[in-house]
């Protein structure tokens, strides 16, 4: 019984790390900037496809380095989605900052185009990546408990990315500028911060983090053109539930949702667990419309 509990807790933890990775990028884009990016899921898919491409290239030209391709893939995934986010901000988002509901529609349109683009380029069937040798197998804790290494890797990666985002937002000059602009745009502009540039960098970083999340997903499942759409509502719920503008809130909320879901999956069917979890979030949001943790900022 204890073993089952531990395994269940671990599956909750790995769901937590997945949700956290997905939500971090959106917490930056939606939480800090207030942009509703419905194409966020497709940015994740883009990261996943980049990982797939990297693996194909390594397999063909650098088979000796196959063990390390994943590390390169994560970096590439970040760079590609960072660049794409930058273009997206330049040509679309920056014209729509004052119209959040319109951002929602335009980015949904972009997400449809990207989905069809993935289908045209990579085909409709889902693609998978080869797992590097060092991630195969499991860590045998006791006779009954074994913890898969790829789950551990994703967990470690999400902790690392979270840490990096925190350092970036709260300890770097760029982070300082970002926080200043999100709190008081006009004043920040007045003291000489290039707010447009800050917006672009912030959006690009958020996109890049989505790419890393996508790269991590390839270790857990396969990637298809519709992958992004599967995650987008979940991701938004994590950010809204945690409290917009609060990164700590995002972590708390990802943890709560993951544990609630995996606990209920133990007793109910997967779809009912999903329904109850989402419904629970909506009900709690009725009582705390600002989310679990919200910054008290004078507006």
């Amino acid at each position: 019984m204890g073993d089952i509990l531990i395994m269940q807790a671990f599956s909750g933890l790995s769901l937590f790390s997945v949700l956290l990775l997905m939500a971090l990028g959106l917490a930056i884009i939606f939480g800090l900037m207030g942009v509703i990016n419905m194409a966020h899921g497709e940015l994740m898919a883009m990261g996943a496809y980049t990982t797939y491409l990297t693996s194909v290239v390594f397999e063909k030209y650098l088979p000796g380095l196959m063990g390390a391709y994943l590390i390169f893939a994560i970096v590439f995934a970040f760079l590609v989605t960072f660049a794409f986010g930058n273009l997206m901000e330049r040509f679309m988002i920056q014209h729509l900052y004052r119209r959040p509901l319109d951002t929602l529609l335009a980015t949904w349109g972009l997400s449809l185009i990207l989905q069809q683009g993935f289908r045209t380029i990579f085909g409709a069937p889902e693609v998978g990546v080869p797992m590097p040798d060092w991630l195969l197998g499991a860590w045998q804790v006791t006779d009954a408990i074994e913890i898969p290494l790829n789950g551990l890797f994703v967990m470690a990666l999400s902790l690392l990315v979270t840490l990096a985002v925190f350092v970036f937002i709260f300890r770097s000059r760029w982070g300082l500028r970002i926080r200043a602009v999100t709190q008081n745009r006009v004043m920040s502009g007045a003291v000489g911060i290039d707010t447009k540039r800050v917006d672009r960098v912030t959006f690009s970083i958020g996109s890049g983090v989505a790419g890393i999340a996508g790269a991590a997903f390839t270790l857990l499942g396969s990637t298809g053109p519709g992958t992004g759409q599967l995650y987008i509502v979940d991701t938004f719920m994590v950010v809204v539930f945690g409290g917009v503008q609060s990164l700590i809130g995002t972590i708390v909320s990802a943890f709560t949702i993951a544990e609630a879901q995996s606990t209920m999956e133990f007793f109910l069917s997967g779809s009912m667990a999903k329904v109850l979890t989402l419904l629970g979030i909506v009900v709690i949001l009725f009582f705390r419309p600002e989310g679990l943790l919200s910054l008290k900022v004078r507006k």
């Binding site: 509901l101 319109d102 529609l105 349109g109 972009l110 289908r119 509502v233 329904v275 909506v282």
Partner: protein, 365 residues
């Protein structure tokens, strides 16, 4: 008398527009289209109910619901429950048998009655909308949050309907029924009649929206959209206006859903989830988010575009609708109605009142 009529329809121009649309729907389309295409048009027009509702609550009320599929689906399911029971006669509906249910679930029982079904189509979605609206707007949840939460609700409901196969028919939804009160739904005359009923109901819905928008309540609604706090400080309970308009939009959607079931002969979760809900927002956006009549044209155009493209170039459809989403937001935010207004403005530059889209634009600026 004539003046009163103009006033009711929202001025001379709107009356002309309404008459044009009425002529198109009631005279031109039945004459031009064969019965298959007309049935298709009827299907599209059942989506137009949702789009008109969205113009009211999104364009005029400023609240974007990404969950209108919920109400459309509910209306469709409630109608389908009655039709299914009628076609099953004394036996258990087939999908319940497949899911080894022993007897009819209690909440299906009242749907033996047509009167009750009609009442339910009017009451259930409206009540749900009231519940959602009251819970959200009384807590001053609005804008983006409302959009995301309604989207989540649409998702929840479609997962629930897919999951509860024995009660809802699961992913296939409710299908296989052919008569309404003994009347063969697939006969040519029935199809034609249903089309006319649908078109007439739609025009009724348009008149009702005009009536709401021209009333004091409609003006307050616009005021709430543009400067919510000022209206609140003037002593109004702002949330009530929003709840009301959200309920009206839900009711319209439910009527559309019921008409959809009657004309298409099925209802399934694929019509109530996130994707259809957002598609219906595009119908409203393309038609013009401040124009109830534009919403009907938008629905017809985009739906025909979808059918045409997916018949001829299936891989282009998503590119097309994606580009349309982006264009409608970035290039012509007031949709077709806005383009028509601009044209009118250019033709008659002086001495005319600003059309409603232009007024809304001024208010936004």
């Amino acid at each position: 008398m004539l003046e009163r009529l103009f006033q009711f329809a929202g001025g001379r121009r709107d009356l002309v527009n309404l008459l044009l649309l009425g002529a198109l729907l009631l005279v031109v389309m039945p004459l031009v289209l064969d019965s298959f295409r007309l049935n298709l048009a009827g299907k599209y027009l059942s989506f137009a109910f949702v789009a008109v509702g969205l113009v009211l609550c999104w364009g005029y009320g400023g609240i974007l619901s990404l969950g209108q599929g919920i109400f459309f689906g509910l209306g469709g399911y409630l109608m389908a429950m009655f039709l299914k029971l009628e076609s099953s006669g004394a036996e258990l509906p087939d999908f319940m048998v497949w899911n080894s249910l022993e007897s009819l679930p209690a909440f299906w029982q009242p749907f033996h009655s047509f009167g009750f079904t009609l009442l339910a189509i009017f009451v259930v979605p409206t009540l749900l909308a009231w519940l959602i609206g009251a819970a959200m707007f009384k807590r001053r949840v609005g804008g983006v949050y409302f959009a995301i939460i309604t989207q989540a609700l649409a998702w929840i409901l479609s997962i629930l309907f897919i999951g509860q196969q024995g009660l809802t028919g699961g992913i296939n939804g409710i299908t296989n029924f052919s008569t309404l009160l003994g009347w063969d739904l697939y006969s040519e005359s029935a199809k034609l009649t249903l089309y006319y009923v649908n078109a007439a109901l739609l025009i009724g819905v348009l008149l009702a929206s005009r009536f709401i928008l021209d009333s004091r309540l409609g003006k307050l609604l616009v005021a709430v959209r543009d400067k919510e706090d000022r209206v609140r400080f003037s002593g109004f309970d702002v949330s009530n206006f929003k709840i009301f308009v959200f309920c009206v939009a839900a009711l319209f959607s439910a009527i559309g859903g019921a008409m959809f079931t009657l004309q298409v002969g099925l209802i399934s979760p694929s019509l109530m989830g996130i994707v259809p809900s957002i598609e219906m927002v595009v119908f409203a956006a393309v038609g013009g988010r401040y124009s109830v009549i534009g919403a009907v044209y938008g629905t017809l155009l985009v739906s025909y575009g979808k059918t045409f493209l997916s018949e001829n170039f299936p891989e282009l459809w998503l590119y097309f609708i994606g580009a349309l989403f982006i264009a409608v937001v970035m290039v012509f935010p007031n949709g077709l109605a806005g383009l028509v207004d601009n044209l009118r403005q250019r033709l008659r530059p002086r001495g005319r009142a600003l059309p409603v889209t232009a007024v809304a634009e001024e208010a936004r600026a």
